[in-house]
Symmetry: C2
Subunit: 309 residues, 2 copies
């Protein structure tokens, strides 16, 4: 069932982390890699992100029984075309992109007759590029697999097992539902964070220096995800438009209700919302999806915040 | 210039942290405390948040040369009335509230003839109550002091020095400007976080369990500040209405532009914003106001993320 040789196309945060995780956790599996950027290939060689690094994508996938495309969502179709002729007949093709319907369509179109099973590990940091990856990125994180209709159950099982071997927990769902779930849990939060950081930078009446100095009041939490890779996120919003707009309208509607409550001085409506939202965080912490220490355990509080004395 | 005896009214996260910070850093200064909640007073005694804990606010302020009100913004006026008759003639009264114009007015009205200089340490965690405080909360954080017109410069200087002795950096500005700065750096981020967490909880098409599981894609960052104290935050929005509504409209305007960009498939507008916002985070990290490690140094990545190998 296990894969013997895995090719990774795109050696940024995700691709690099997969390479390092395979090396750390699957000693019997070899890896090869390619990145379109020569400087990234050079750095990938230095960090040994994959066993071998190749000058073309076609060379990298030769002999692989699993290929994982780790390029921005908008580059998936093109990356698939580049490897189409070099893929072995039994090679499984997967990816790590954040929007699944558009990628599923693009890969099916570029790779007719090949087995394609898209996947999305819900893990990442604000850093990108070949220096950002680390072997434990997927540990205790969820990976969503979206098998197309009629996908071979054994192939799905093999991909599930692979992600579990990298430390992830796996859930399967259809691509449309994935896109809605991620719109809420990832895409809208990024859009909001990018926007509020932009708003704060553009004010005249409050200086940029004041925004930076006094960011510990809450703003700094938003700047972390607003530092994410711009190309990746542009592609997410171009490719998950419908689900993002649907969820954005829900959010805007709720924000309008809060705006009216503030305008009207309606403290009860505010108190009601502000009380309800605490329990979700408790559940996230209980499920091991976040750090229970205050301020995420930022270094200034390490070892002081949670002690009851 | 230093204060000999400091009374702290309200023994939650901020009041408790001030008490512990004074004990740790100002051995020559004594403290007394009061909280309206008997259970909080009990816990404050066990944790020794202040040197003595009293059954009334009037008893707690007797003999103090500095009183710091650490109650929710909406309770400031009432707390000031409760101590008015017990204050010594030379006692300086200050506070830690997040909106300064309304507090300045409330304290001036409740304490005619007394010296009042409001202050706001821009520091906190998502935890509240008598167990949440710790001595280093203010270290390397900014404290904003908003001296009313005509305030005695020596008194201002003494308050600046006090906060610096607790490890904070101090900046003085007028109350109106403070309220605008904090609307951007703290109040709007909290409002947005509370709202999106509420939106996500109320969806039918995406379950609460899915929101929790897949929160590592960005959503979980918002849940931290959406777990903050509901009473405190209700009072902030009731008391800083004008500045919050002004900044909220700026944000909504910018979000509408992004919504149109997504609808129109305008990748250039997205890429432009997503690229601009990275530099603000770099500045915040450079100024020591956030943790440079990926994911704020959450425990799963400790010691792995930033090493270039």
């Amino acid at each position: 069932m296990s894969f013997r040789h895995i090719a990774i196309i795109g050696l940024g945060l995700l691709g690099g982390s997969i390479g390092l995780a395979v090396a750390a956790r699957l000693p019997g599996t070899t890896t090869s890699g390619f990145d379109a950027d020569p400087a990234v290939r050079q750095r990938a060689r230095e960090r040994q992100l994959t066993g071998t690094i190749h000058e073309t994508a076609a060379e990298a996938v030769a002999g692989a029984d699993l290929v994982i495309l780790c390029v921005p969502v908008g580059a998936m179709g093109r990356a698939a075309q580049d490897i189409a002729d070099a893929l072995g007949p039994d090679c499984l093709v997967s990816d790590v992109g954040s929007s699944k319907q558009s990628i599923s369509d693009a890969l099916a179109q570029a790779l007719p007759g090949h087995c394609v099973i898209p996947a999305h590990p819900v893990a990442g940091t604000e850093n990108s590029g070949p220096d950002a990856g680390f072997a434990e990125l997927f540990a205790q994180r969820w990976c969503i697999i979206t098998p197309p209709e009629g996908a071979d159950p054994d192939r799905v099982k093999a991909l599930v097992q692979f992600w579990e071997e990298l430390g992830a927990m796996v859930e399967c769902m259809d691509a449309e539902h994935h896109d809605r779930v991620l719109a809420v849990t990832s895409h809208i939060p990024h859009l909001i964070a990018y926007t509020i950081v932009g708003t704060a930078s553009d004010l005249e009446i409050v200086t940029r220096s004041e925004v930076i100095k006094f960011s510990a009041g809450g703003f700094r939490d938003f700047t972390r995800i607003a530092a994410s890779d711009p190309t990746m996120w542009r592609d997410v919003f171009l490719n998950n438009r419908d689900a993002v707009l649907e969820m954005l309208d829900r959010f805007l509607n709720d924000l309008d209700l809060m705006r009216e409550a503030i305008r009207a001085g309606d403290g009860d409506t505010m108190f009601d919302l502000f009380s309800r939202t605490r329990s979700i965080r408790r559940s996230i912490v209980a499920l091991g999806q976040d750090d229970a220490r205050p301020d995420f355990g930022r270094k200034d509080h390490a070892g002081t915040g949670m002690q009851p004395n």
